[in-house]
C-alpha cells in the first residue's frame, strides 16, 4: 500500500502550487498562446494592420526548401553538440574520479567555462579561429592548412559546435562526477576481485548505473542545443556561410527581428515547439526504457 500525504481542504494546496502555475501561465502559456495566434496572420511590423491567412504562414515555410534544410542543419548541429559535450565530460569525470589527491583543483578548473556566457564564448572562439588574426588559424596555416570558416561550411559548423559544447562540458562534468561518487564502492571492488580490469568495470557496472544521469543530460543538452546556442551562432557565423549554420531558432530570430516578419517568425516558433515536444516524448518513451534507476 502506497503511503500518501493528503491535505484537508483545497486552499492550502492551491496556494502552494499557485506561484508555479502563475509563473508558467505568464511566462510560458500566455506568450506561447500569442505565438500560436499570431502565426495565423501576416501583420505589418508596427501592428497597425494584420491580415488573416489561416495556415498560410506554415504553407509558406514548409514549401521553402531553405527552411526544410534548416531542419537537417539543426539535427546535425544538436547531435554533434550533445555528443561533443557529453562524451568528453564523462571521460573527464571518470579521470577526475580516479584521482585520490587534488581532484578538488581539477574539479574547480573544469567548472570554470560554464561561467562564460554563450555569446562571450562565441567571441573567444572566433578570436582564436579568426582567418586573419586568430592564433589557431595561424598555427594551422603554418602546418599548411588554410582555415577559412567564413566560406567553408564544414569548418563553420565545426567551429560553432565546439564553441557551443565547450562551456557545456563543465555542466555535464558536474553531473557525471556527482553520479560517479554515488556508485557503490563495494560493487566495484567485488568486480575487481573477480579480475575485471578498469574499462570492463566501467562498461558493465559504472555506465549502467550512470544511465539516469546520462538520460537527464541528454534531454537537457538537446534542449540547450536547440535554444541556447543562439548567442554562439550570432557572434561567430551569423548563420553563414550560405545557410550552413542557420538552425531553426536562429531563423526565428532573423525573420522576426531582422526581417520584421512576425507572422512567419511566430509560425516557426510553433513548429519549433512541436518539434521539441515530439523529441521529448520520444526520449521518454524509448530511451527511458533503457534507463535503470
Amino acid at each position: 500500500m502506497e503511503k500518501r500525504v493528503t491535505f484537508r481542504g483545497w486552499l492550502l494546496p492551491l496556494a502552494l502550487i499557485a506561484p508555479q502555475v502563475i509563473i508558467s501561465a505568464v511566462f510560458f502559456f500566455y506568450p506561447a498562446g500569442q505565438a500560436v495566434w499570431q502565426s495565423l496572420f501576416i501583420p505589418d511590423p508596427f501592428g497597425l494592420s494584420s491580415q488573416f491567412v489561416g495556415l498560410g504562414n506554415f504553407e509558406f515555410l514548409l514549401s521553402d526548401k531553405y527552411y526544410r534544410a534548416s531542419f537537417v542543419t539543426t539535427a546535425v548541429f544538436s547531435t554533434l553538440v550533445t555528443l561533443c559535450s557529453m562524451i568528453p565530460a564523462l571521460f573527464l569525470a571518470v579521470i577526475a574520479d580516479r584521482l585520490i589527491k587534488g581532484s578538488g583543483v581539477y574539479r574547480t578548473l573544469l567548472i570554470w567555462p560554464y561561467a562564460v556566457a554563450p555569446a562571450v564564448a562565441g567571441v573567444l572562439w572566433l578570436f582564436m579561429f579568426n582567418t586573419r588574426v586568430g592564433v589557431v588559424a595561424w598555427y594551422l596555416s603554418q602546418l599548411g592548412y588554410d582555415w577559412n570558416h567564413v566560406l567553408n561550411d564544414t569548418e563553420a559548423m565545426g567551429l560553432v559546435v565546439v564553441a557551443s559544447a565547450w562551456g557545456r562540458i563543465s555542466y555535464n562534468f558536474l553531473f557525471f562526477f556527482a553520479a560517479l561518487q554515488s556508485v557503490p564502492r563495494s560493487v566495484i571492488e567485488a568486480a575487481a576481485i573477480d579480475g575485471a580490469h578498469f574499462w570492463r568495470r566501467f562498461f558493465t557496472i559504472v555506465l549502467p548505473l550512470l544511465s539516469p544521469t546520462a538520460f537527464f543530460l541528454l534531454v537537457v543538452n538537446v534542449v540547450y542545443a536547440f535554444f541556447e546556442t543562439f548567442g554562439v551562432i550570432h557572434t561567430i557565423t551569423g548563420g553563414g556561410p550560405q545557410q550552413a549554420t542557420t538552425i531553426l531558432v536562429y531563423k526565428v530570430f532573423s525573420d522576426g527581428f531582422v526581417g520584421q516578419d512576425l507572422g512567419s517568425s511566430s509560425a516557426q516558433s510553433v513548429i519549433l515547439l512541436i518539434v521539441v515536444g515530439l523529441l521529448t516524448v520520444i526520449q521518454f518513451k524509448y530511451v527511458e526504457k533503457r534507463v535503470h534507476y
Binding site: 501576416i42 501583420p43 505589418d44 511590423p45 508596427f46 501592428g47 497597425l48 494584420s50 491580415q51 509558406f60 521553402d64 531553405y66 582567418t131 586573419r132 588574426v133 567564413v150 566560406l151 567553408n152 551569423g238 548563420g239 553563414g240 556561410p241 550560405q242 545557410q243 532573423s254 525573420d255 527581428f257 531582422v258 526581417g259 520584421q260 516578419d261 507572422g263 512567419s264
Partner: protein, 436 residues
C-alpha cells in the same frame, strides 16, 4: 520611508535646472557609438545651447537593426520617440507604416522652421523622397562606395601606385600584377551586396528591381540576375578563385585587413575615411568606384548607404515644432560641413559641400571629394535614384548567402543570382500582401 522618498524627491527637483521645467523635450534615438556617437552628442548639445525653448535628448539604442526594432517595439507600446534613426534598408518598411510616421515635409511645414527641399543634394534626397517629390525622412548620414588604395602595397609588389584604376578591366590587370608581385591580398571588400550589386547596378544604369527599383510600387521584382551584374560577379568569382579577391565576411570585416596594411585594394564606403585615416600606417589614396567599360562608356552615379531621421506619429504639436527646429539645425551649412569633414559622410546640402571646398578641406585632404563628385556628377535616373524594397534586410541576407556560394565556387554567378531573385521575390510578395 515615505518621508524619505518625499525628501529625496524634493532634493532632486531642487537640483535640476529650473529652466528645464518649461522646455519641451524631444527624444532622438540613434545607432551611433564611439567617435560618431560623440559627434552626434556634440550636435545635440550645440542645438540645446543655441535656444531655450526645446531640449533634445539623444539616446543610443544599439546597431541599425536594433534601433529600428526598439522604435517599432516602442510604437507598439505607445512610447515612441519623436525622432528615430532608420538605416536606408528600412526605408520601405517605414514608408509603408502610414499612421506610425509623420512625413518630414509635413512636420517642416507645420512647425514653420526654415526648410528648402531643393537645398538637398538630389542623389541623397531622392532615396527618401516620394515619386511626387515629397521628402519623407531627413537624410542624416549618407555615404557611397569608393575604391581605397594602399600605395605602399602597390610599390612593394612593383606596381605603379598612380596607375589608372578607373575601370574594372584595368583593375583586373592590376590584380594580376599585384598577385605576380607577391601580394597575398590584392582586393578585399566591405558590404558586398551594397557595393557589388546595388551600387554596381545604379552605376551602370541597369535596374536592380522592377518598378523603378521599387519606387513606383510594391509589386516589384528583383532584376539582379541581369547580364551586367552576372558578368561582374563572374569576374569577382574568378578573382576569388585565383586568390586575387579575398572574402572576409558579410559586413565590413575587410576594413581590419585593409587598415592593417595587409590588402592593396579595398572597396568600402566613403565613411571608412575616419577609421582609415586614424589607423593606416601606410600611404593611401581614394579613387572613384571602377566601372565596366564593356557595359558603359561613362558611369551613372552611385547610390547612398547610411541612415535618415524619421519623425514618429502620436506627439503634441509643440513637440513637432521642436523636431522641425532641430532638423532645420541639422541641415544648416555649418553643422553639415563639420559632419562631412569629420566623418567622410556626404554633405546633405550642396551648400555644405561648397563651404567645405571654399575652406580648402579638399585640397588639404585629397580624395575626400571623390564621393561627392561620384554622387553628383550626373542627374540620377530611375535606376540610380536608390532602392525601395520591403524586407530588404532579409533580402540582403539572401544575397550574401548566394554570393558566398559564388566565392566558394559552388555556384556560377548566374545560378546564384537566379536563386537570389527567386528567394527575394517570395519575400517581396509577402511584404506586398502585409502592406496592402
Amino acid at each position: 520611508m515615505k518621508k524619505n522618498f518625499l525628501g529625496a524627491l524634493a532634493v532632486t527637483t531642487a537640483l535640476s535646472p529650473v529652466a528645464a521645467m518649461a522646455q519641451t523635450e524631444v527624444q532622438f534615438w540613434h545607432a551611433f557609438t564611439g567617435r560618431l556617437g560623440e559627434l552626434v552628442k556634440a550636435q545635440v548639445e550645440e542645438f540645446n545651447a543655441s535656444q531655450d525653448e526645446f531640449v533634445v535628448v539623444e539616446s543610443h539604442k544599439g546597431n541599425y537593426s536594433e534601433t529600428l526594432n526598439a522604435g517599432i517595439a516602442a510604437f507598439r507600446a505607445g512610447e515612441q520617440p519623436q525622432i528615430l534613426m532608420v538605416f536606408e534598408v528600412g526605408t520601405a518598411t517605414m514608408m509603408s507604416a502610414e499612421g506610425a510616421i509623420r512625413p518630414v515635409y509635413e512636420v517642416m511645414a507645420e512647425s514653420g522652421a526654415s526648410f528648402d527641399p531643393d537645398a538637398y543634394i538630389g542623389a541623397v534626397k531622392g532615396y527618401y523622397t516620394t515619386t511626387d517629390g515629397d521628402m519623407l525622412s531627413l537624410p542624416f548620414n549618407s555615404s557611397t562606395p569608393v575604391l581605397w588604395v594602399n600605395r605602399d602595397a602597390f610599390e612593394a609588389a612593383g606596381v605603379d601606385p598612380d596607375t589608372d584604376l578607373s575601370t574594372w578591366e584595368k583593375v583586373g590587370d592590376v590584380l594580376e600584377q599585384l598577385k605576380a608581385g607577391g601580394e597575398e591580398c590584392p582586393l578585399v571588400t566591405a558590404w558586398q551586396s551594397w557595393i557589388h550589386l546595388e551600387n554596381m547596378s545604379a552605376y551602370h544604369d541597369v535596374p536592380f528591381a522592377s518598378q523603378d527599383n521599387g519606387f513606383a510600387g510594391l509589386d516589384t521584382e528583383l532584376m539582379l540576375n541581369g547580364p551586367a551584374q552576372v558578368a561582374h560577379l563572374t569576374a569577382m568569382g574568378d578573382w576569388a578563385k585565383d586568390g586575387k579577391f579575398i572574402y572576409t565576411g558579410r559586413r565590413n570585416e575587410g576594413g581590419a585587413n585593409f587598415r592593417s596594411g595587409e590588402c592593396a585594394l579595398f572597396t568600402e564606403s566613403s565613411a571608412g575615411y575616419a577609421g582609415i585615416k586614424a589607423e593606416a600606417e601606410f600611404d593611401f589614396d581614394v579613387r572613384p568606384l571602377p566601372y565596366w567599360e564593356a557595359v558603359t562608356s561613362e558611369p551613372q552615379n552611385t547610390i547612398i548607404g547610411g541612415a535618415s531621421l524619421w519623425v514618429m506619429e502620436g506627439h503634441d504639436p509643440e513637440e513637432y515644432k521642436g523636431v522641425g527646429e532641430f532638423l532645420s539645425f541639422l541641415s544648416s551649412s555649418d553643422v553639415q560641413s563639420a559632419w562631412h569633414q569629420n566623418t567622410g559622410y556626404l554633405p546633405i546640402t550642396a551648400e555644405a559641400g561648397d563651404a567645405t571646398r571654399a575652406a580648402g578641406f579638399y585640397d588639404e585632404n585629397p580624395g575626400t571629394d571623390i564621393a561627392v563628385i561620384q554622387m553628383t556628377a550626373k542627374e540620377p535616373t530611375a535606376n540610380s535614384k536608390g532602392l525601395r524594397l520591403g524586407s530588404f534586410d532579409q533580402i540582403r541576407g539572401i544575397i550574401d548567402e548566394e554570393l558566398e556560394a559564388v566565392w566558394a565556387g559552388e555556384k556560377t554567378a548566374q545560378e546564384a543570382m537566379d536563386s537570389a531573385k527567386e528567394r527575394g521575390d517570395a519575400l517581396l510578395r509577402r511584404f506586398e500582401s502585409a502592406n496592402q
